[in-house]
């Protein structure tokens, strides 16, 4: 089970190779990529902060849950930190399973859980300013009074 928080470029081939087993008929790989826009605003680049030790611990927890829940062969979660330009990959989630349905379902579930629980933060930097993003799915925002969640 490959779990990693790193400042280095993420390699799809490494994640795929890490999860494959002879009984795997399906591998699903998800890449979270830096997009040139968010909420109608043009994005220059992103800066990722993380609590690496805890992030890896939570990523492993989520991966173990997915493996058991979906009967996976294996899975891998890698998150990059530091400055990322448009088009660069911030998140890699790889899942291997016997058949395709579980690979898609588990991949989607894993990414949803990562967005909720893993202590990683991104700052959007524009031409004329910057702001830390508060993930609308994050546990912290979910606990807040409804009026704050709309902000």
């Amino acid at each position: 089970m490959l779990i990693r928080v790193t400042e280095s470029e993420l390699q799809p081939d490494e994640a795929i190779a890490a999860v494959q087993t002879p009984a795997s008929g399906a591998v699903n790989l998800f890449l979270g990529v830096v997009r040139d826009n968010n909420l109608g605003r043009s994005v220059g680049y992103l800066e990722y902060d993380a609590y690496p030790a805890m992030a890896e611990r939570v990523m492993r927890e989520i991966a173990e849950e997915a493996k058991a829940q979906f009967g996976l062969e294996d899975c891998a979660v890698l998150h990059r930190t530091g400055r990322l330009e448009i088009g660069e990959t911030s998140l890699l989630v790889a899942v291997a399973s016997g058949h395709r349905a579980e690979s898609f379902e588990a991949g989607h579930w894993l990414v949803n859980q990562i967005k909720k629980r893993v202590p990683v933060w991104k700052k959007e930097v524009w031409d004329n300013g910057e702001a830390w993003v508060e993930g609308p799915e994050s546990l912290g925002l979910q606990q807040a009074p409804a009026t704050m969640r709309e902000g």
Binding site: G32, Y48, D49, A50, Y51, A53, M54, A55, R57, H79, S90, L91, V111, I114, K115, K116, R117, V118, P119, V120, W121, K122, K123, W132, V133, E134, G135, S138, L139, G140, L141, Q143, A144, P145, M148
Partner: protein, 81 residues
């Protein structure tokens, strides 16, 4: 013995620091340590309603005890991925 406090993202920017230590006090809980921290960094007050906490790398509730030597992290709403 001391408590190590870790700050990240918007909270680190507001406080102007990512890491500090505080003296441990008898009966310390997550909430009590946080409140002493707010005394020192009042600019963090607006972050509190959406803040989560981690004790030694695991999410912790506000009532949980904080033994001397612990690491307490303030976790603003995450936005990884």
């Amino acid at each position: 013995m001391e408590i190590t406090v870790l700050l990240f993202a918007s909270v680190a920017e507001k406080a102007g620091t990512r890491k500090l230590t505080m003296p441990s006090e008898p009966g310390d809980t997550v909430e009590r340590v946080r409140d002493r921290l707010l005394g020192r960094f009042p600019e963090l007050a607006s972050s509190v309603p959406t803040l989560l906490y981690a004790l030694n790398e695991e999410y912790a509730k506000e009532w949980e005890p904080v033994p001397p030597g612990s690491t307490l992290a303030l976790i603003p709403p995450v936005s990884g991925g």
